[in-house]
Symmetry: C2
Subunit: 557 residues, 2 copies
C-alpha cells in the first residue's frame, strides 16, 4: 500500500516537509494543499523586495539557481503534487480525509491521508481599531502584501509603521530606503521588546533616529483616520499623518482548522506538538508557524514563529510522517535583523526574561571593535551577556552595532545549546586573524568580564542604575578615566576627569568615604581604575558597565 501523506500549507515548513518526506520514502504519494497562488516563497525577504534590494518577487520564490518553485517544479523535481488555490476546510480525523474547497468554486472534494502534516502558518495581527479596514493599511506577510507595499512606497510620502518588532523595523528601513518619511510607533517603552533589553534597544533606536526616522515609543494607537484612504494614525501622542500604514504588531498561529478538528491547542495559542512534532492525533503532525515549541533555556512552551525554525521543523515532520524518526527539541529564541548600518539580535534570554524566569542574573555590557582595532574595517559591536549567578551558565546574549553581530550570536547560541559556562566560553578556540576579530574575540572578552564579576573581582553597575543615582542626586563621584582628548570630544555631565595614566599619582584628589563609579569608553579602563583604587584602599568603587559607548542617555559634546 502506498503511504499517502497530505500536507496543508506550501510555504517554508510545508514545502520542506513534502520534499523531505519524498526523499525519505520515494514510494509515498505526497500532496500539498495551499489556498494561495504563490507557494514556497521567502516571506522573510519581503522587506528587501519592498526596498528594491531584491527587484523581482520571483527571486523570493526561486531556488538558488533561479528556478521558480511552482507546482510544476515540485512535481518534476520533487515528485510532490501541489494543489494551489485550494483550501482545506475540514479534517475528518475518523476517516482520515481532508475536505477541500477550490477557489474555482466547484463542489468540495476530499483527499484521504495516512499521515497529515499541518503547516498552516500564521497571520498578522490586525487590531480591532476604528478605520483599520481603510485602504493604505497593509501587513507584511504575503507576496500580495509585498507587491502592494512596493507600489505604495512612494518617495516623499509619509509612512507610519506600527510595531517596533523585527518585521516592523525591517519595514522601516525598506520604506526609508524608498525615500518615504517614516514614523515608527511602538506601544512599549522601547523598540524590539522581548529581543533587546532597554539599554541595548536605546543604542539601536538612536541609530534609527539618526537615519531620519521618527521613533515614538510608549504610544498607543486608538484608530485610523481617512476618507476612502488612510490619512492618519490616531494615538495618545496625537495623530500622525500617513499616506501608508504598515501593521507589524505580531503574528498569531493559524489554528482554526486544528481547533475545529479537535486537536490540542497549547496555552500559547498554537498547536501543541511533542518532540516528534506529533499533535494530539498520532497521525497528524504540525510544523512551522502554526505550532508551538519549547524554549530550550527555560523549558517553557513558547510561540516563536521564524523561517529558520519552520525549515528545520518541516524536515523533522517530513521524516516522521514518512516513517522515519527525528526530533525537534526546541529553540533558543534566536533573532537578528539589519536596520540601516546596524545589526541587532539575541539568543537565549534577555535580562528581563531571565529575571522573569526566576534566575539570579549577572550581566555584562561589553562594546568593542569586531576586528583587530588597527584593521581599517573594524566596526564596534556592543554585547550584553546574561548569566545565571548560581552556575555561571550563559543564559543569553544580545548584540547591537555596526559590527558583525551575527557571528557572536551564532557562537553564543551554540554555547548556550550545550549549557556552557562563562569559563568555558572564555576558553573557546575561536577563529582569529586581524580581518576577523581581535586576538581576544568580543565574546571571549565579555566572558572574561563575566568571570571577573562572578568571582567578585570586578564590580559593575549598569548605566541605568548610575542614571537613577544621578536623578536621585546621590552623593557619589562619577570618575571618567579616559584621556583628556576623549573627554573633550564627548562626556557625561558632572563626571570628574582623572585619566587612568595619572590615576595612581592623583589618588589624593579622591575621597575614600564616597562611592566612586569609574568609566571609560568601553569599561576596560574603568575596571582597571576599580582595581587601582581598591588596591589603594578605596572600598566603595565600581565601574560602569559598557562605558560611555553604551550610555544610552544624553551626552555633552
Amino acid at each position: 500500500m502506498t503511504l499517502r501523506i497530505v500536507i496543508i500549507g506550501a510555504n517554508a515548513a510545508g514545502a520542506k516537509a513534502a520534499a523531505k518526506a519524498k526523499r525519505m520514502n520515494p514510494e509515498a504519494s505526497i500532496t500539498v494543499i495551499d489556498r494561495g497562488s504563490f507557494i514556497s516563497y521567502g516571506a522573510c525577504g519581503i522587506p528587501y523586495f519592498v526596498s528594491d534590494t531584491v527587484c523581482d518577487e520571483k527571486e523570493l520564490m526561486s531556488t538558488p539557481v533561479g528556478v521558480v518553485r511552482d507546482p510544476a517544479f515540485f512535481w518534476k523535481v520533487k515528485g510532490v503534487e501541489v494543489l494551489t488555490e485550494t483550501e482545506a476546510v475540514a479534517i475528518d480525523r475518523k476517516n482520515r480525509r481532508v475536505e477541500l474547497k477550490t477557489s474555482a468554486g466547484a463542489g468540495n472534494s476530499f483527499i484521504e491521508y495516512d499521515k497529515l502534516i499541518l503547516a498552516t502558518g500564521s497571520f498578522p495581527v490586525i487590531p480591532p481599531l476604528a478605520g483599520c479596514e481603510l485602504p493604505g493599511i497593509i501587513t507584511v506577510k504575503s507576496i500580495e502584501d509585498a507587491i502592494i507595499l512596493k507600489e505604495q512606497a512612494i518617495s516623499g510620502k509619509r509612512a507610519c509603521v506600527i510595531g517596533a518588532g523585527l518585521i516592523g523595523l525591517e519595514t522601516v528601513e525598506a520604506l526609508s530606503m524608498r525615500g518615504m518619511h517614516v514614523t515608527l510607533v511602538e506601544m512599549q517603552a522601547q523598540i524590539l521588546p522581548g529581543v533587546l533589553d532597554l539599554e541595548m534597544a536605546r543604542m539601536l533606536e538612536q541609530h534609527i533616529r539618526e537615519k531620519g526616522v521618527e521613533v515614538v515609543t510608549s504610544c498607543c494607537v486608538s484608530g485610523f483616520g481617512g476618507n476612502g484612504q488612510v490619512e492618519g494614525v490616531i494615538t495618545d501622542h496625537g495623530t500622525f499623518a500617513a499616506d501608508l500604514v504598515v501593521l507589524a504588531i505580531g503574528a498569531r498561529p493559524n489554528v482554526g482548522l486544528a481547533r475545529t478538528s479537535g486537536l490540542f491547542i497549547g496555552e500559547t495559542g498554537a498547536i501543541a506538538v511533542d518532540s516528534n512534532l506529533r499533535t494530539s492525533d498520532p497521525d497528524i503532525y504540525a510544523c512551522g508557524d502554526c505550532c508551538e515549541t519549547t524554549n530550550l533555556v527555560t523549558g517553557a512552551k513558547i510561540y516563536a514563529p521564524l523561517g529558520s525554525t519552520a525549515n528545520k521543523q518541516g524536515r523533522v515532520a517530513g521524516i516522521n510522517a514518512a516513517g522515519g524518526e527525528d526530533t525537534f527539541a526546541g529553540v533558543l529564541g534566536t533573532a537578528i535583523l539589519k536596520v540601516f548600518d546596524f545589526s541587532a539580535g539575541k539568543t537565549g534570554l534577555t535580562e528581563v526574561a531571565a529575571r522573569a524566569a526566576g534566575y539570579q542574573v549577572e550581566t555584562v555590557l561589553s562594546p568593542a571593535p569586531d576586528r583587530a582595532h588597527f584593521y581599517p574595517e573594524a566596526k564596534p559591536i556592543a554585547l550584553k551577556l546574561v548569566a545565571d549567578k548560581a552556575t555561571g551558565r550563559l543564559l543569553g546574549l544580545q548584540a547591537v552595532g555596526p559590527g558583525a553581530a551575527d557571528k557572536r550570536i551564532d557562537a553564543a547560541a551554540t554555547a548556550i545549546s550545550f549549557r556552557a559556562t562563562a569559563d568555558q566560553i572564555s576558553h573557546l578556540d575561536l577563529a582569529y586573524a586581524p580581518p576577523f576579530s581581535a586576538a581576544m574575540d568580543n565574546l571571549i572578552v565579555a566572558a572574561d568580564i563575566l568571570k571577573n564579576k562572578l568571582n567578585g573581582h570586578a564590580r559593575g553597575i549598569s548605566p541605568a542604575e548610575v542614571k537613577q543615582m544621578m536623578d536621585d542626586e546621590d552623593d557619589f563621584i562619577l570618575l571618567d578615566v579616559r584621556s583628556p582628548a576623549e573627554h573633550a570630544a564627548v562626556r557625561i555631565a558632572g563626571a570628574k576627569l582623572v585619566p587612568l595614566g595619572v590615576l595612581r599619582e592623583k589618588l589624593d584628589t579622591l575621597p575614600k568615604d564616597k562611592e566612586i563609579i569609574a568609566f571609560c569608553k568601553i569599561s576596560l579602563r574603568g575596571y582597571e581604575a576599580q582595581k587601582i583604587l581598591n588596591a589603594a584602599g578605596f572600598d566603595k568603587v565600581r565601574f560602569m558597565d559598557g562605558g560611555i559607548l553604551t550610555w544610552p542617555y544624553a551626552l555633552e559634546k
Copy 2:
C-alpha cells in the same frame, strides 16, 4: 612579603600575564623583561602594515584608543615595570633569580622572583641553505622585519614567498597589494597543508592564481643566488628571480632558556606545561608561543602558536602566578586567514588529520551562498565537515570562499568544544535573517547532509575519487543534472546532461547496470537525483560531494 613575579617576554602572552597578575594581586611587584625595544605589538598585524592597510607601525603597538603600549604606559596604567633591551640569560632556579644582560653592555645583574612566567615566544625557521644570509631575505616576525619588508615591497619588483602557510599567504597578499610580482613556493603538494584538505586548498589556490600570483607547489628550495643582495631562489623547479624573498616556513618555540634551566621540554619541542600552565618547576609558568598545548579533539600534545591562544594563556598564567586558579585545557587548532577576496580556515581536524588519528571518518563538501540567495551581498562559501562515523561527532570543519567563513568556523569550534554530533548541529538555533544567512544556515545544511550520509540515505563520493575513476577509465556515467543553461556555461568533460526537472521522464536513457555519479552545482540536486534513481530501481548511484563548485580540476567553458 610582597609577591615578586618576573615575566620574560613582553609581547602578547607576557604582557597579558603581567597586566592580569597585577589586577589579581595589586600588592605584587611585577617586572617584565624583554630583549627587544618594541613591546606588546600585534605581530599578526604585520602583513597589514606591509600592505599599507595599516599605515603606521605604532598602530600595532597601541591600545584601541590610540595609546602606545610602551614601558611608561605599562608603569602608569598597569602598575607593571617593563625592562626593554634586557636579555634574560639564565635562570638560577635554586635561588629563584634570573640573570639579566642589558644591551647597554654593563655587567650582568640579577632579579629575584617568587613566581616566574616564561613568555619567550617563537622564532621563524631559517633553513640551513646556501645564501640564506643574503640581504633581501626576510622573515615576518618582528616590528623590525615589518619595517624592512615595507621598505622593500616596491611596486613592479619581484618577490618570492617561501611557505604557503598562514603567514606566507598573508604576506603574498600584502606584497601583491603593493604591486609586486609574487611567486609562492611550497614544498608540499598543496597550499595551507595542515589547515585545509587538498580539495579545499585547490579552491583557494585557484583564487590566488587568478589574482596574478604564481603558485608553485611540491617545490623544494635548495638555495639562494645573488651578489650582495638576493637575486633568485634556486629550486628543483628551476630558479625564480626575486628582488625580495620572504621565509615563512614555520615557527619554532624559543626554549633555549627553559632548556638550559633544566625545565622539561615536550616531544613537540616546546616547553611542557600542565593545565595550569605550570612547567616542571612549580614556581615557573610558561604561556604563549614558547609552550606546547593539547589538541582538544585527539588529546595529543601539539605545538600551535597563535596570538589568540597566547592572550588566553597569558591570562591563565598571570592568574595562577598571582595566587589564583585558572586552567587552559587546550585548543582545537582553529585558524583563519583572508587572502584577496577569499577567507579560508578550519577548526578541529582535517580529514587527513582525522584519519591519521585513527578515526573512521565521514565527510561532507557543501558549497552555498552565505546569506539568503536572493540577497544581493550573498557570496558563496564552501564548507567541509569531517565527522567520526562511529559517533556522528563533528571532528572538524574547513571553510573556503568569498563568503563569511569565520562565522561558520566559530559556531563549529564552539560545537566541537562540546563534542556535538551532526544531529545536534543540525538543530542549532542560529541567527537568521536574509542579510545574514539562508533560512537553513550553511552549517545546518552541511550537518543535514552529514546526517543523511551517516544514516545511509545519501551516498556521496569525493571529487578526488571521481577524478581517479576518470583517470582509470572506469565504466561509469557522470550525470550532470543541472539546467541546460548552467551546462552551457561550464561543464565537466564527459559528463552526460539530464536536467533534474526531466530526470523522472528520461529514466530509460540511463542503464541500470552501470554506476552512476550524479552532480549539480553544489550537490543538493545531485542528491535528489540519487534519490529519484534509487526509487526507480537504480542501485549503483552516488552523488559527487560539493558538485561542480568544489570540483578542483579542469572544466570546459
